[in-house]
Amino acid sequence: MADLVVESLTTMPNGQYYRLILRGESPLLDCRPGQFAEVRIDQTDVLLRRPISIHFVDKERNEMWLLIQKAGKGTTALSSIQRGNRLNLVYPLGNGFNATDNDYRHPLLVGGGVGVAPLLMLGAAFRNLGVEPTFLLGARKALDLNELDEYEKFGRVFLTTEDGSLGEKGFVTQHSVLSSEKFDGVFACGPTPMMKAIAQYAASHDIPCEVSLENRMACGIGACLCCVEDTRNGHQRVCADGPVFNINDLKWQI
Protein backbone atom coordinates (compact mmCIF):
# COMPACT_ATOMS: atom_id res chain seq x y z
CA MET A 1 0.00 0.00 0.00
CA ALA A 2 1.42 3.35 -1.00
CA ASP A 3 0.40 6.89 -1.80
CA LEU A 4 1.57 7.91 -5.26
CA VAL A 5 1.54 11.47 -6.50
CA VAL A 6 -0.42 12.43 -9.58
CA GLU A 7 2.08 13.71 -12.10
CA SER A 8 -0.40 14.19 -14.95
CA LEU A 9 -3.86 13.29 -16.13
CA THR A 10 -4.40 13.19 -19.87
CA THR A 11 -7.88 12.82 -21.24
CA MET A 12 -7.94 10.81 -24.44
CA PRO A 13 -9.61 12.14 -27.59
CA ASN A 14 -12.80 10.12 -27.02
CA GLY A 15 -13.33 11.89 -23.71
CA GLN A 16 -13.98 8.50 -22.07
CA TYR A 17 -10.45 7.27 -21.40
CA TYR A 18 -7.77 9.02 -19.44
CA ARG A 19 -4.17 8.25 -18.60
CA LEU A 20 -2.86 8.88 -15.13
CA ILE A 21 0.87 9.14 -14.58
CA LEU A 22 1.73 8.58 -10.93
CA ARG A 23 5.08 9.21 -9.36
CA GLY A 24 6.45 7.32 -6.39
CA GLU A 25 8.06 9.27 -3.60
CA SER A 26 10.06 6.19 -2.78
CA PRO A 27 11.08 3.58 -5.38
CA LEU A 28 8.08 1.84 -6.93
CA LEU A 29 7.65 -1.83 -6.12
CA ASP A 30 8.52 -4.27 -8.89
CA CYS A 31 5.55 -5.00 -11.11
CA ARG A 32 5.05 -7.70 -13.71
CA PRO A 33 2.99 -7.15 -16.85
CA GLY A 34 -0.64 -8.10 -16.20
CA GLN A 35 -0.56 -7.23 -12.54
CA PHE A 36 -2.93 -4.60 -11.25
CA ALA A 37 -3.45 -2.07 -8.50
CA GLU A 38 -6.43 -1.53 -6.21
CA VAL A 39 -7.09 2.19 -6.26
CA ARG A 40 -8.83 3.93 -3.39
CA ILE A 41 -11.20 6.65 -4.50
CA ASP A 42 -11.50 9.20 -1.74
CA GLN A 43 -14.02 11.91 -0.97
CA THR A 44 -16.83 10.24 -2.87
CA ASP A 45 -19.49 7.76 -1.89
CA VAL A 46 -17.49 4.99 -3.57
CA LEU A 47 -16.81 2.41 -0.88
CA LEU A 48 -14.56 -0.25 -2.37
CA ARG A 49 -11.27 0.18 -4.17
CA ARG A 50 -11.27 -0.22 -7.94
CA PRO A 51 -8.94 -2.68 -9.70
CA ILE A 52 -6.94 -1.08 -12.50
CA SER A 53 -4.22 -2.77 -14.57
CA ILE A 54 -0.73 -1.44 -14.49
CA HIS A 55 -0.45 0.10 -17.92
CA PHE A 56 3.23 0.83 -17.87
CA VAL A 57 6.08 1.42 -15.44
CA ASP A 58 8.76 3.93 -16.25
CA LYS A 59 11.52 2.82 -13.93
CA GLU A 60 13.84 5.71 -14.68
CA ARG A 61 11.28 8.32 -13.81
CA ASN A 62 9.87 6.12 -11.03
CA GLU A 63 6.43 6.51 -12.61
CA MET A 64 3.45 4.23 -13.02
CA TRP A 65 0.91 4.69 -15.79
CA LEU A 66 -2.75 3.78 -15.59
CA LEU A 67 -5.19 3.87 -18.49
CA ILE A 68 -8.72 4.21 -17.25
CA GLN A 69 -12.16 4.27 -18.79
CA LYS A 70 -14.95 6.28 -17.18
CA ALA A 71 -17.17 3.26 -16.61
CA GLY A 72 -19.18 4.40 -13.62
CA LYS A 73 -19.06 6.56 -10.56
CA GLY A 74 -15.64 5.52 -9.26
CA THR A 75 -13.67 5.88 -12.45
CA THR A 76 -15.58 9.08 -13.29
CA ALA A 77 -14.87 10.63 -9.89
CA LEU A 78 -11.21 9.69 -10.26
CA SER A 79 -11.02 11.52 -13.58
CA SER A 80 -11.17 14.86 -11.78
CA ILE A 81 -8.13 14.21 -9.62
CA GLN A 82 -5.56 17.00 -9.85
CA ARG A 83 -1.84 17.03 -10.48
CA GLY A 84 -0.09 16.88 -7.13
CA ASN A 85 -2.92 14.99 -5.40
CA ARG A 86 -2.10 11.68 -3.81
CA LEU A 87 -3.70 8.42 -4.82
CA ASN A 88 -3.64 5.43 -2.51
CA LEU A 89 -2.80 2.15 -4.25
CA VAL A 90 -2.47 -1.41 -3.11
CA TYR A 91 -0.09 -2.96 -5.66
CA PRO A 92 1.24 -5.02 -7.33
CA LEU A 93 -1.57 -7.56 -7.22
CA GLY A 94 -2.28 -10.73 -9.16
CA ASN A 95 -0.10 -13.13 -11.07
CA GLY A 96 0.57 -11.30 -14.31
CA PHE A 97 1.22 -12.86 -17.69
CA ASN A 98 3.49 -15.88 -17.83
CA ALA A 99 4.79 -14.54 -21.09
CA THR A 100 8.24 -13.65 -20.00
CA ASP A 101 8.88 -16.99 -18.33
CA ASN A 102 8.62 -18.76 -21.64
CA ASP A 103 10.31 -18.80 -24.99
CA TYR A 104 7.94 -16.99 -27.27
CA ARG A 105 9.34 -15.75 -30.57
CA HIS A 106 6.20 -14.34 -32.20
CA PRO A 107 3.82 -13.30 -29.48
CA LEU A 108 0.52 -11.69 -30.37
CA LEU A 109 -0.91 -9.18 -27.90
CA VAL A 110 -4.60 -8.59 -28.48
CA GLY A 111 -6.49 -5.81 -26.76
CA GLY A 112 -10.02 -4.47 -27.03
CA GLY A 113 -11.22 -1.13 -25.69
CA VAL A 114 -9.57 -0.18 -22.43
CA GLY A 115 -8.34 -3.79 -22.24
CA VAL A 116 -5.28 -2.63 -24.12
CA ALA A 117 -3.97 -1.24 -20.81
CA PRO A 118 -1.79 -4.13 -19.58
CA LEU A 119 -0.46 -4.88 -23.05
CA LEU A 120 1.82 -1.87 -23.24
CA MET A 121 3.83 -3.08 -20.30
CA LEU A 122 3.74 -6.64 -21.63
CA GLY A 123 5.04 -5.46 -25.02
CA ALA A 124 7.86 -3.60 -23.33
CA ALA A 125 8.79 -6.73 -21.42
CA PHE A 126 8.99 -8.76 -24.62
CA ARG A 127 11.11 -6.13 -26.27
CA ASN A 128 13.43 -6.23 -23.27
CA LEU A 129 13.85 -9.94 -23.90
CA GLY A 130 14.77 -9.18 -27.48
CA VAL A 131 11.47 -10.33 -28.92
CA GLU A 132 9.33 -8.09 -31.12
CA PRO A 133 5.69 -8.40 -30.11
CA THR A 134 2.78 -7.85 -32.45
CA PHE A 135 -0.02 -5.70 -31.07
CA LEU A 136 -3.48 -6.17 -32.45
CA LEU A 137 -5.70 -3.49 -30.98
CA GLY A 138 -9.39 -3.07 -31.62
CA ALA A 139 -12.02 -0.54 -30.75
CA ARG A 140 -15.33 0.81 -31.93
CA LYS A 141 -13.93 3.86 -33.61
CA ALA A 142 -10.64 5.58 -34.33
CA LEU A 143 -11.01 7.94 -31.36
CA ASP A 144 -10.90 4.99 -28.96
CA LEU A 145 -7.41 3.94 -30.12
CA ASN A 146 -4.81 6.02 -28.38
CA GLU A 147 -1.12 6.31 -27.62
CA LEU A 148 -0.28 4.28 -30.73
CA ASP A 149 3.23 5.72 -30.76
CA GLU A 150 3.80 4.17 -27.36
CA TYR A 151 3.00 0.69 -28.65
CA GLU A 152 5.06 1.25 -31.76
CA LYS A 153 8.12 1.76 -29.56
CA PHE A 154 8.00 -1.91 -28.69
CA GLY A 155 6.51 -3.73 -31.63
CA ARG A 156 4.34 -3.78 -34.71
CA VAL A 157 0.81 -2.44 -34.33
CA PHE A 158 -2.27 -3.63 -36.22
CA LEU A 159 -5.62 -2.02 -35.72
CA THR A 160 -9.28 -2.69 -36.27
CA THR A 161 -12.30 -0.47 -35.72
CA GLU A 162 -15.89 -1.52 -35.94
CA ASP A 163 -16.76 1.46 -38.09
CA GLY A 164 -13.65 1.19 -40.24
CA SER A 165 -12.44 4.64 -39.27
CA LEU A 166 -8.95 3.32 -38.52
CA GLY A 167 -7.18 0.09 -39.46
CA GLU A 168 -9.25 -2.77 -40.79
CA LYS A 169 -12.99 -2.64 -40.42
CA GLY A 170 -14.47 -5.23 -38.06
CA PHE A 171 -13.41 -7.04 -34.92
CA VAL A 172 -9.85 -7.91 -33.96
CA THR A 173 -10.60 -11.55 -34.63
CA GLN A 174 -11.29 -10.71 -38.27
CA HIS A 175 -7.96 -8.97 -38.86
CA SER A 176 -6.00 -10.30 -41.83
CA VAL A 177 -2.77 -10.60 -39.86
CA LEU A 178 -4.28 -13.55 -38.02
CA SER A 179 -4.31 -15.57 -41.22
CA SER A 180 -1.26 -14.11 -42.90
CA GLU A 181 1.15 -14.74 -40.05
CA LYS A 182 1.91 -17.48 -37.57
CA PHE A 183 2.17 -16.62 -33.90
CA ASP A 184 3.43 -18.82 -31.10
CA GLY A 185 1.57 -17.25 -28.20
CA VAL A 186 -1.50 -15.09 -27.66
CA PHE A 187 -2.07 -12.67 -24.77
CA ALA A 188 -5.44 -11.02 -24.63
CA CYS A 189 -7.32 -8.51 -22.56
CA GLY A 190 -10.63 -6.91 -23.34
CA PRO A 191 -14.35 -7.62 -23.44
CA THR A 192 -15.23 -11.25 -22.75
CA PRO A 193 -16.73 -11.96 -26.21
CA MET A 194 -13.51 -10.71 -27.80
CA MET A 195 -11.37 -12.85 -25.52
CA LYS A 196 -13.50 -15.88 -26.25
CA ALA A 197 -13.16 -15.35 -29.96
CA ILE A 198 -9.40 -14.96 -29.63
CA ALA A 199 -9.25 -18.06 -27.48
CA GLN A 200 -11.04 -19.93 -30.24
CA TYR A 201 -8.52 -18.69 -32.78
CA ALA A 202 -5.66 -19.77 -30.52
CA ALA A 203 -7.21 -23.17 -29.90
CA SER A 204 -7.81 -23.84 -33.56
CA HIS A 205 -4.21 -22.87 -34.34
CA ASP A 206 -2.92 -24.75 -31.33
CA ILE A 207 -1.21 -21.72 -29.86
CA PRO A 208 -0.98 -21.18 -26.09
CA CYS A 209 -3.27 -18.38 -25.00
CA GLU A 210 -3.50 -16.34 -21.82
CA VAL A 211 -6.34 -13.99 -21.05
CA SER A 212 -6.74 -11.39 -18.34
CA LEU A 213 -10.12 -11.45 -16.60
CA GLU A 214 -11.92 -8.52 -15.01
CA ASN A 215 -14.22 -10.15 -12.48
CA ARG A 216 -15.76 -7.88 -9.90
CA MET A 217 -13.60 -7.63 -6.81
CA ALA A 218 -13.97 -6.61 -3.20
CA CYS A 219 -10.60 -7.17 -1.50
CA GLY A 220 -8.29 -7.67 -4.47
CA ILE A 221 -5.83 -9.63 -2.34
CA GLY A 222 -7.31 -13.10 -2.22
CA ALA A 223 -9.12 -12.91 1.10
CA CYS A 224 -12.83 -12.55 0.34
CA LEU A 225 -13.51 -15.02 -2.48
CA CYS A 226 -15.85 -12.60 -4.25
CA CYS A 227 -14.04 -12.54 -7.58
CA VAL A 228 -13.90 -16.24 -8.38
CA GLU A 229 -13.89 -17.75 -11.85
CA ASP A 230 -15.11 -21.28 -12.31
CA THR A 231 -12.04 -23.09 -13.63
CA ARG A 232 -11.00 -26.68 -14.19
CA ASN A 233 -9.49 -26.43 -10.70
CA GLY A 234 -12.73 -25.24 -9.15
CA HIS A 235 -13.46 -21.68 -8.11
CA GLN A 236 -10.25 -19.72 -8.42
CA ARG A 237 -9.68 -16.18 -7.21
CA VAL A 238 -9.19 -13.87 -10.17
CA CYS A 239 -7.38 -11.34 -7.99
CA ALA A 240 -4.83 -13.73 -6.52
CA ASP A 241 -4.80 -16.82 -8.75
CA GLY A 242 -5.33 -14.55 -11.80
CA PRO A 243 -6.21 -12.15 -13.28
CA VAL A 244 -4.32 -13.94 -16.05
CA PHE A 245 -5.42 -17.46 -16.86
CA ASN A 246 -4.36 -19.91 -19.48
CA ILE A 247 -7.49 -20.61 -21.50
CA ASN A 248 -6.98 -24.33 -20.96
CA ASP A 249 -7.74 -23.77 -17.29
CA LEU A 250 -10.98 -21.93 -17.95
CA LYS A 251 -14.34 -23.56 -18.53
CA TRP A 252 -15.22 -21.29 -21.43
CA GLN A 253 -17.28 -22.84 -24.21
CA ILE A 254 -15.03 -22.15 -27.13
Binding site: M1, L47, A218, G222, C224, L225, C226
Partner: protein, 304 residues
Protein backbone atom coordinates in the same frame (compact mmCIF):
# COMPACT_ATOMS: atom_id res chain seq x y z
CA UNK B 1 -0.77 3.75 27.07
CA UNK B 2 -3.99 2.31 28.46
CA UNK B 3 -4.54 -1.36 29.16
CA UNK B 4 -6.20 -2.85 26.10
CA UNK B 5 -6.51 -6.40 27.39
CA UNK B 6 -9.92 -8.04 27.28
CA UNK B 7 -10.89 -11.31 28.89
CA UNK B 8 -13.85 -12.88 27.13
CA UNK B 9 -13.87 -15.79 29.56
CA UNK B 10 -13.33 -19.51 29.26
CA UNK B 11 -9.71 -19.12 28.25
CA UNK B 12 -10.16 -16.50 25.54
CA UNK B 13 -8.04 -13.49 26.40
CA UNK B 14 -7.36 -10.82 23.82
CA UNK B 15 -4.36 -8.49 23.88
CA UNK B 16 -6.77 -5.84 22.61
CA UNK B 17 -10.44 -5.78 21.62
CA UNK B 18 -9.92 -5.73 17.85
CA UNK B 19 -10.47 -8.93 15.88
CA UNK B 20 -11.03 -9.42 12.17
CA UNK B 21 -14.33 -10.84 10.94
CA UNK B 22 -14.75 -14.20 9.31
CA UNK B 23 -14.77 -14.25 5.53
CA UNK B 24 -13.10 -10.88 5.23
CA UNK B 25 -9.58 -11.69 6.36
CA UNK B 26 -8.88 -15.06 4.77
CA UNK B 27 -6.59 -16.97 7.10
CA UNK B 28 -4.75 -13.81 8.04
CA UNK B 29 -1.77 -14.58 5.83
CA UNK B 30 -3.30 -12.57 2.97
CA UNK B 31 -2.86 -9.46 5.10
CA UNK B 32 0.63 -10.12 6.41
CA UNK B 33 2.14 -7.76 3.81
CA UNK B 34 0.13 -4.86 5.17
CA UNK B 35 0.35 -5.16 8.92
CA UNK B 36 1.71 -7.18 11.77
CA UNK B 37 -1.28 -9.49 12.06
CA UNK B 38 -0.10 -10.80 15.41
CA UNK B 39 -0.96 -7.38 16.86
CA UNK B 40 -4.66 -8.12 16.39
CA UNK B 41 -6.71 -9.25 19.37
CA UNK B 42 -7.80 -12.18 17.26
CA UNK B 43 -8.31 -13.41 13.74
CA UNK B 44 -11.52 -15.20 12.92
CA UNK B 45 -10.76 -17.31 9.90
CA UNK B 46 -13.00 -18.21 7.03
CA UNK B 47 -16.25 -20.08 7.54
CA UNK B 48 -15.37 -23.77 7.77
CA UNK B 49 -17.81 -26.59 7.08
CA UNK B 50 -17.63 -30.32 7.50
CA UNK B 51 -17.28 -30.95 3.79
CA UNK B 52 -15.65 -29.10 0.95
CA UNK B 53 -17.92 -26.43 -0.57
CA UNK B 54 -17.43 -24.72 -3.92
CA UNK B 55 -19.66 -21.83 -2.85
CA UNK B 56 -22.00 -19.95 -5.15
CA UNK B 57 -21.44 -19.12 -8.80
CA UNK B 58 -19.97 -15.79 -9.84
CA UNK B 59 -21.06 -12.92 -9.54
CA UNK B 60 -20.84 -12.91 -5.79
CA UNK B 61 -20.52 -9.23 -5.02
CA UNK B 62 -22.41 -5.99 -5.55
CA UNK B 63 -21.51 -2.59 -4.23
CA UNK B 64 -24.44 -0.73 -2.65
CA UNK B 65 -24.69 2.70 -1.01
CA UNK B 66 -22.06 2.63 1.77
CA UNK B 67 -22.03 -1.13 1.68
CA UNK B 68 -21.67 -4.32 -0.28
CA UNK B 69 -23.61 -7.51 -0.81
CA UNK B 70 -21.81 -10.82 -0.92
CA UNK B 71 -22.92 -14.28 -1.89
CA UNK B 72 -19.71 -16.21 -1.44
CA UNK B 73 -21.67 -19.14 -0.03
CA UNK B 74 -19.08 -20.48 2.40
CA UNK B 75 -16.56 -21.63 -0.18
CA UNK B 76 -13.98 -23.66 1.76
CA UNK B 77 -12.15 -26.94 1.51
CA UNK B 78 -13.81 -28.54 4.54
CA UNK B 79 -12.61 -29.10 8.08
CA UNK B 80 -10.25 -31.99 7.35
CA UNK B 81 -8.34 -29.92 4.84
CA UNK B 82 -8.25 -27.14 7.39
CA UNK B 83 -6.84 -29.43 10.06
CA UNK B 84 -4.25 -31.00 7.81
CA UNK B 85 -3.18 -28.22 5.49
CA UNK B 86 -4.07 -24.86 6.91
CA UNK B 87 -3.78 -25.29 10.65
CA UNK B 88 -0.05 -26.12 10.54
CA UNK B 89 0.60 -22.88 8.65
CA UNK B 90 -1.34 -20.62 10.96
CA UNK B 91 -1.09 -22.24 14.35
CA UNK B 92 1.98 -20.30 15.35
CA UNK B 93 0.51 -16.89 14.58
CA UNK B 94 0.96 -15.05 17.85
CA UNK B 95 -2.67 -14.09 18.30
CA UNK B 96 -5.95 -15.89 18.88
CA UNK B 97 -6.80 -17.85 15.76
CA UNK B 98 -10.52 -18.52 15.96
CA UNK B 99 -12.37 -20.76 13.52
CA UNK B 100 -15.77 -19.75 12.21
CA UNK B 101 -17.82 -22.96 12.02
CA UNK B 102 -20.80 -23.32 9.70
CA UNK B 103 -23.10 -26.13 8.77
CA UNK B 104 -26.41 -27.15 7.32
CA UNK B 105 -27.40 -29.69 9.96
CA UNK B 106 -26.80 -30.13 13.66
CA UNK B 107 -24.65 -33.17 12.92
CA UNK B 108 -22.41 -31.15 10.59
CA UNK B 109 -21.88 -28.47 13.20
CA UNK B 110 -21.10 -31.01 15.87
CA UNK B 111 -18.70 -33.00 13.74
CA UNK B 112 -16.83 -29.88 12.65
CA UNK B 113 -16.61 -28.42 16.14
CA UNK B 114 -15.38 -31.73 17.55
CA UNK B 115 -12.51 -31.78 15.08
CA UNK B 116 -11.52 -28.20 15.86
CA UNK B 117 -11.68 -29.00 19.56
CA UNK B 118 -8.58 -31.17 19.09
CA UNK B 119 -6.45 -28.30 17.79
CA UNK B 120 -4.35 -26.94 20.63
CA UNK B 121 -3.69 -23.55 19.10
CA UNK B 122 -7.32 -22.73 18.40
CA UNK B 123 -8.70 -21.24 21.63
CA UNK B 124 -12.24 -20.67 20.39
CA UNK B 125 -14.75 -21.23 17.65
CA UNK B 126 -17.29 -18.76 16.39
CA UNK B 127 -20.42 -20.70 15.58
CA UNK B 128 -22.10 -19.14 12.57
CA UNK B 129 -25.77 -20.04 12.92
CA UNK B 130 -27.01 -17.92 10.07
CA UNK B 131 -26.81 -20.72 7.51
CA UNK B 132 -29.86 -22.44 6.11
CA UNK B 133 -30.92 -25.51 8.05
CA UNK B 134 -31.39 -28.07 5.32
CA UNK B 135 -33.35 -30.44 7.53
CA UNK B 136 -35.86 -27.75 8.40
CA UNK B 137 -36.45 -26.57 4.87
CA UNK B 138 -33.85 -23.85 4.56
CA UNK B 139 -34.97 -21.78 7.54
CA UNK B 140 -31.75 -20.70 9.18
CA UNK B 141 -30.62 -21.98 12.55
CA UNK B 142 -30.22 -18.41 13.61
CA UNK B 143 -33.81 -17.22 13.27
CA UNK B 144 -35.65 -19.56 15.61
CA UNK B 145 -34.56 -19.56 19.26
CA UNK B 146 -35.52 -23.20 19.73
CA UNK B 147 -33.48 -24.43 16.80
CA UNK B 148 -30.57 -22.20 17.79
CA UNK B 149 -30.63 -23.63 21.26
CA UNK B 150 -30.56 -27.12 19.90
CA UNK B 151 -27.51 -26.60 17.73
CA UNK B 152 -25.61 -24.63 20.37
CA UNK B 153 -26.30 -27.25 23.04
CA UNK B 154 -25.18 -30.02 20.76
CA UNK B 155 -21.94 -28.23 19.92
CA UNK B 156 -21.43 -27.35 23.58
CA UNK B 157 -21.38 -31.07 24.38
CA UNK B 158 -18.42 -31.71 22.12
CA UNK B 159 -16.60 -28.40 22.31
CA UNK B 160 -14.79 -27.67 25.54
CA UNK B 161 -13.07 -24.36 24.80
CA UNK B 162 -14.51 -20.88 24.25
CA UNK B 163 -17.74 -21.10 22.28
CA UNK B 164 -18.71 -17.82 20.65
CA UNK B 165 -22.02 -17.81 18.81
CA UNK B 166 -22.55 -15.39 15.94
CA UNK B 167 -26.06 -14.06 15.48
CA UNK B 168 -27.82 -13.01 12.33
CA UNK B 169 -29.66 -9.66 12.37
CA UNK B 170 -32.49 -10.92 10.18
CA UNK B 171 -34.81 -11.56 13.09
CA UNK B 172 -37.69 -9.92 14.87
CA UNK B 173 -36.14 -10.20 18.30
CA UNK B 174 -32.37 -10.33 18.56
CA UNK B 175 -32.59 -10.53 22.35
CA UNK B 176 -34.65 -13.72 22.19
CA UNK B 177 -31.99 -15.27 20.01
CA UNK B 178 -29.17 -14.10 22.25
CA UNK B 179 -30.83 -15.36 25.40
CA UNK B 180 -31.48 -18.72 23.78
CA UNK B 181 -27.85 -19.29 22.81
CA UNK B 182 -26.62 -18.06 26.17
CA UNK B 183 -28.89 -20.54 27.89
CA UNK B 184 -27.58 -23.25 25.61
CA UNK B 185 -24.05 -22.64 26.80
CA UNK B 186 -22.47 -19.96 24.63
CA UNK B 187 -19.47 -18.29 26.29
CA UNK B 188 -19.97 -15.13 24.25
CA UNK B 189 -22.08 -13.91 21.34
CA UNK B 190 -20.92 -11.95 18.34
CA UNK B 191 -23.22 -9.83 16.20
CA UNK B 192 -24.12 -8.93 13.56
CA UNK B 193 -23.71 -11.18 10.59
CA UNK B 194 -24.93 -9.72 7.28
CA UNK B 195 -28.40 -8.34 6.64
CA UNK B 196 -30.15 -10.09 3.80
CA UNK B 197 -30.38 -7.81 0.78
CA UNK B 198 -30.54 -7.69 -2.98
CA UNK B 199 -29.24 -5.62 -5.87
CA UNK B 200 -30.69 -5.25 -9.34
CA UNK B 201 -29.10 -3.95 -12.52
CA UNK B 202 -31.87 -1.89 -14.10
CA UNK B 203 -30.07 -1.89 -17.46
CA UNK B 204 -29.94 -5.66 -17.83
CA UNK B 205 -33.06 -6.21 -15.65
CA UNK B 206 -31.21 -8.93 -13.79
CA UNK B 207 -30.15 -9.42 -10.19
CA UNK B 208 -26.48 -8.54 -9.75
CA UNK B 209 -25.75 -11.63 -7.65
CA UNK B 210 -25.97 -15.14 -9.06
CA UNK B 211 -28.03 -16.07 -5.99
CA UNK B 212 -30.37 -13.06 -6.34
CA UNK B 213 -30.09 -12.21 -2.63
CA UNK B 214 -26.96 -11.85 -0.55
CA UNK B 215 -25.54 -10.53 2.69
CA UNK B 216 -25.19 -6.80 3.28
CA UNK B 217 -22.18 -5.47 5.17
CA UNK B 218 -20.24 -2.26 5.54
CA UNK B 219 -20.95 1.18 7.02
CA UNK B 220 -24.60 1.12 5.93
CA UNK B 221 -25.42 -1.58 8.50
CA UNK B 222 -23.72 0.12 11.43
CA UNK B 223 -26.87 1.72 12.88
CA UNK B 224 -28.64 -1.65 12.93
CA UNK B 225 -25.61 -3.41 14.39
CA UNK B 226 -25.14 -0.81 17.14
CA UNK B 227 -28.80 -1.07 18.08
CA UNK B 228 -28.63 -4.85 18.35
CA UNK B 229 -25.40 -4.84 20.35
CA UNK B 230 -27.00 -2.37 22.73
CA UNK B 231 -30.17 -4.42 23.09
CA UNK B 232 -28.34 -7.71 23.54
CA UNK B 233 -25.69 -6.50 25.96
CA UNK B 234 -28.40 -5.19 28.26
CA UNK B 235 -29.94 -8.63 28.71
CA UNK B 236 -26.95 -10.97 28.51
CA UNK B 237 -24.48 -12.03 31.20
CA UNK B 238 -21.83 -13.31 28.79
CA UNK B 239 -19.68 -10.87 26.81
CA UNK B 240 -20.84 -9.44 23.51
CA UNK B 241 -18.57 -9.00 20.50
CA UNK B 242 -19.82 -6.24 18.23
CA UNK B 243 -19.42 -5.83 14.50
CA UNK B 244 -21.09 -4.44 11.44
CA UNK B 245 -19.74 -1.48 9.52
CA UNK B 246 -16.77 -0.65 11.72
CA UNK B 247 -14.45 1.45 9.56
CA UNK B 248 -12.31 3.26 12.10
CA UNK B 249 -11.53 3.64 15.79
CA UNK B 250 -14.48 5.95 16.43
CA UNK B 251 -16.87 3.31 15.12
CA UNK B 252 -15.20 0.71 17.31
CA UNK B 253 -15.54 2.94 20.37
CA UNK B 254 -19.24 3.33 19.61
CA UNK B 255 -19.68 -0.46 19.73
CA UNK B 256 -17.81 -0.68 23.02
CA UNK B 257 -19.94 2.11 24.48
CA UNK B 258 -23.06 0.28 23.31
CA UNK B 259 -21.98 -2.71 25.37
CA UNK B 260 -19.51 -4.76 23.35
CA UNK B 261 -16.44 -6.16 25.11
CA UNK B 262 -14.60 -6.56 21.82
CA UNK B 263 -15.21 -5.86 18.15
CA UNK B 264 -14.64 -7.43 14.77
CA UNK B 265 -13.70 -5.58 11.62
CA UNK B 266 -14.92 -6.96 8.31
CA UNK B 267 -15.56 -5.03 5.09
CA UNK B 268 -13.17 -2.27 6.18
CA UNK B 269 -10.24 -4.63 5.59
CA UNK B 270 -10.99 -4.51 1.86
CA UNK B 271 -10.63 -0.76 1.71
CA UNK B 272 -7.71 -0.44 4.07
CA UNK B 273 -5.80 -3.67 4.61
CA UNK B 274 -4.02 -2.12 7.58
CA UNK B 275 -7.20 -0.89 9.25
CA UNK B 276 -7.04 -3.36 12.15
CA UNK B 277 -3.80 -1.94 13.44
CA UNK B 278 -5.05 1.62 12.99
CA UNK B 279 -8.16 0.87 15.01
CA UNK B 280 -6.10 -0.56 17.85
CA UNK B 281 -4.01 2.62 17.94
CA UNK B 282 -7.10 4.80 17.72
CA UNK B 283 -8.83 3.10 20.63
CA UNK B 284 -5.71 3.55 22.70
CA UNK B 285 -5.63 7.25 21.82
CA UNK B 286 -9.28 7.64 22.74
CA UNK B 287 -8.65 6.06 26.12
CA UNK B 288 -5.66 8.29 26.75
CA UNK B 289 -7.50 11.43 25.70
CA UNK B 290 -10.38 10.55 27.96
CA UNK B 291 -8.23 9.62 30.91
CA UNK B 292 -9.26 5.98 30.96
CA UNK B 293 -6.90 3.29 32.13
CA UNK B 294 -8.47 0.24 30.60
CA UNK B 295 -10.58 -0.48 27.58
CA UNK B 296 -12.94 -2.40 29.80
CA UNK B 297 -14.11 0.94 31.19
CA UNK B 298 -15.62 1.70 27.80
CA UNK B 299 -17.81 -1.38 27.59
CA UNK B 300 -21.41 -0.32 28.12
CA UNK B 301 -20.35 3.17 29.23
CA UNK B 302 -23.01 4.81 27.10
CA UNK B 303 -24.72 7.58 29.06
CA UNK B 304 -28.45 7.23 28.51
Amino acid sequence: MADLKVDLGKGLTLSNPVMTASGTFGYGTEYADFMDISRLGGIIVKGTTLHHREGNPYPRMAETPSGMLNAVGLQNKGVDYFVEKIYPDIKDTATNMIVNVSGSSVEDYVATAAKINELDSIPAIELNISCPNVKQGGMTFGTDPKVAKEVVSAVRNVYSKHLMVKLTPNVTSITDMALAVEEAGADSVSLINTLMGMAIDARTRRPVLSTVTGGLSGPCVKPVALRMVWQVSKVLSVPVVGLGGIMNATDAVEFLLAGASAVEVGTANFINPAVGEEIICGINEYLDQNGMNSVTELTGALIV
